[in-house]
């Protein structure tokens, strides 16, 4: 079990994309939620994924994180073709996802949430009996939160008594602990106060500085412009444009989001 909580700088060359998505298609019955989408994410880069409701953002990232299995197309991670049939397989490949509102179990404590799905066990009788090592899990959580300067008065407390910002911090801490080599964040600033939003964005920037690429889904365009290097716009399942953040503005992006502009149609 990996227990060093350092964020590894990726060995991948700067020029090689960390994640390549090629012609991805996901259908739900007659509805094509994601339609032949390409997406590249390079090391140390924050990519904003924006679009109106039902544009296919969440479906796309759920295909990457193993929740959904795409019908067509390929996903390459760190140069290798990957098929994730379950979320744990993506997590094992160090793709960590922070889902909006549903990342944590409110009835479990901070430590239990950080280790959910990957509990530390003590084995007895040749692995027949697996007993939880709760003390070690809490100790590791405490070290982690201290290192990330996340201030939670009592991490043996259940998640549901924490504030929204604290919960988000726990979710991010969990991804850091498991050595995320790609971080996917679905609306991480939703339902947060202004100060907490800013703190989450600072955390995103610091992930980038440590070479961890981030895919950020957000409705809040100011947030997207504040932290991303590139912006990808989806509209009705298709990628309609991809712009460097420095070379565009929110007005132009909104026009893509509502379908007034569409690069894929012109080409």
């Amino acid at each position: 079990m990996e227990q060093t909580a350092t964020i590894q700088n990726t060995e991948t060359q700067k020029g090689e994309p960390m994640l390549q998505v090629r012609q991805l298609v996901k259908r739900f019955g007659g509805l094509t939620a994601v339609n032949k989408v390409d997406l590249d994410v390079y090391p140390g880069e924050v990519v904003g994924l924006v679009g109106d409701n039902a544009a296919g953002k969440s479906t796309l990232i759920k295909c990457i994180s193993g929740v959904y299995q795409p019908e067509e197309g390929e996903i390459y991670f760190e140069g290798r073709r990957v098929h994730f049939s379950r979320p744990i397989e993506a997590r094992d490949a160090h793709i960590e996802t922070i889902y909006q509102d549903l990342a944590l179990a409110g009835n479990l404590n901070v430590g239990a949430n950080i280790f959910m799905g990957r509990e530390i066990k003590k084995h007895y009788l040749g692995g027949l009996v697996r007993i939880l090592d709760e003390a070690l899990m809490l100790k590791e959580s405490q070290k982690l939160l201290e290192r990330l300067k996340i201030n939670i008065p009592d991490f043996t407390q259940e998640i549901e008594v924490l504030s929204g910002g604290q919960r988000q911090a726990v979710a991010i801490a969990r991804a850091v602990y498991w050595q995320a080599r790609l971080m996917i964040m679905d609306e991480p600033t939703n339902n947060l106060g202004v100060v907490e939003q800013r703190q989450v964005l600072t955390l995103v920037r610091e992930l980038r500085e440590q070479g961890v690429p981030v895919i950020l889904i957000s409705h809040t365009l100011p947030d997207v412009f504040a932290v991303t290097d590139r912006i990808v716009v989806l509209h009705r399942g298709r990628k309609v444009t991809e712009k460097k953040t420095s070379e565009t503005d929110s007005q132009e992006i909104v026009q893509y989001m509502v379908g007034a502009l569409d690069d894929s149609r012109e080409s």
Binding site: R91, A105, N107
Partner: protein
């Protein structure tokens, strides 16, 4: 990294409180008070007859099978599920075991045959396997066919009951061997007190279920599924497997209760354990397990089952006709849970209530 703080979480940690204040935060405390109050009231009303060793023995025996089945139901309800099939599964497993052991029915025995110990063991194992099978079918229906637990187990309740009636042709199966009935009738001397064997088994199973729920990865996953099934699934927990396991255990434990019941009564009637599923659920919810999931404990269930058992025996001793019993039971369910809710509100957030007995704190 960046500093993510927020206002201090409400109320702070229970661990800062002295032990006697922490005791008041324990989830089971409220219902424990109810049990103690009931014992006191019945003792006074019966001039102490309620607390004689023989009567305590009776009460213990009385709620043993309900409690055993309720351990499984506790786990089911922690996952935010429900199992309505417990009573029918008890009847079916009791019948299956009896069918293999009764002189009148067993294909392995002649008309005057007496079952050997190995046959008794095999019959019990077969009974338990049938219980586990019923439970696993529930689990598969819920996770694979995506039926609501209420519907799947309602169907199983009827199916198991129907099979029991059909198999027994409506008649009770009698003439069970001594070496089977001893399981329900033998007392284990503990000092001067005679502990009925089913009660001993109930206590052993309680300890095992408690350890399972609080100390193993499986137990941990049960709480995670009940707390937030989406989060559990996305974290990589195989939620279907957890739920199937929980219903299978519920079936297995209901089976154990059913076998003990027929050993005690010396007969397996197709009408046995009718309505017990509600007694089982009552014991669990009176014991403080939340029906919305994510919260509950085995100790609470033992106390809940004891409350229901004490009530039955107590009213009987006080001289209340048995006809009135269900009304009293209903009142106790409502009263105990109202009191429990009141305790919880007074103690603040619900998390603090459970520290001593549940898995969340170190």
């Amino acid at each position: 990294m960046s500093q993510i703080t927020a206002q201090k979480a409400s109320d702070g940690a229970a661990s800062h409180l002295p032990w006697y204040r922490r005791l008041f935060r324990v989830q089971e405390f409220g219902i424990l008070l109810v049990l103690i109050a009931m014992i006191l009231i019945f003792s006074v009303m019966t001039d102490g007859r309620f607390l004689t060793p023989v009567n305590i023995q009776n009460i213990l025996l009385n709620f043993s099978w309900t409690a055993i089945a309720a351990f499984g139901a506790t786990m089911v309800i922690i996952t935010a599920g429900i199992d309505l099939s417990a009573g029918s599964v008890m009847a079916l497993t009791g019948l299956a075991t009896a069918m293999m052991l009764s002189r009148d029915h067993s294909p392995f025995l002649g008309p005057n045959g007496e079952a050997s110990v190995p046959l008794v063991i095999i019959a019990i194992v077969v009974g338990l396997a049938i219980g586990a099978l019923c439970g696993s079918i529930n689990g598969i229906l819920i996770t694979k066919a995506r039926l609501p637990p209420f519907i799947a187990t309602l169907g199983m309740m009827q199916i198991a009951r129907g099979i029991t009636y059909g198999w027994a042709q409506g008649w009770p199966v009698q003439n069970l061997p001594q070496n089977f009935m001893v399981l329900g009738r033998h007392n284990i001397p503990v000092g001067t007190f005679n502990l009925p064997f089913p009660s001993l088994l109930m206590l052993l199973l309680a300890v095992m279920a408690w350890l399972f729920l609080t100390r193993t990865v499986w137990g941990y996953h049960i709480f995670a599924v009940g707390g937030n099934i989406q989060a559990a699934r996305l974290s990589g927990i195989n939620t279907s497997r957890v739920r199937i396991m929980v219903y299978t255990l519920a079936g297995l434990l209901a089976g154990a209760g059913g076998i003990l019941l027929s050993a005690r009564l010396g007969v397996a009637a197709p009408t046995a354990a009718q309505g017990y599923e509600l007694d089982v659920i009552a014991a669990v919810v009176v014991g403080g397990t939340s029906t919305v999931g994510g919260e509950g404990s085995i100790l609470g269930t033992v106390i809940g089952a004891a409350i229901m058992g004490a009530l039955r025996t107590g009213l009987n001793l006080v001289g209340v006709q048995a006809y009135w019993l269900p009304a009293a039971q209903g009142a106790i369910i409502i009263g105990a849970i109202t009191l429990d809710q009141w305790f919880r509100r007074r103690q603040g957030q619900r998390g603090g209530l459970s520290r001593l007995f549940r898995r969340r704190s170190a």
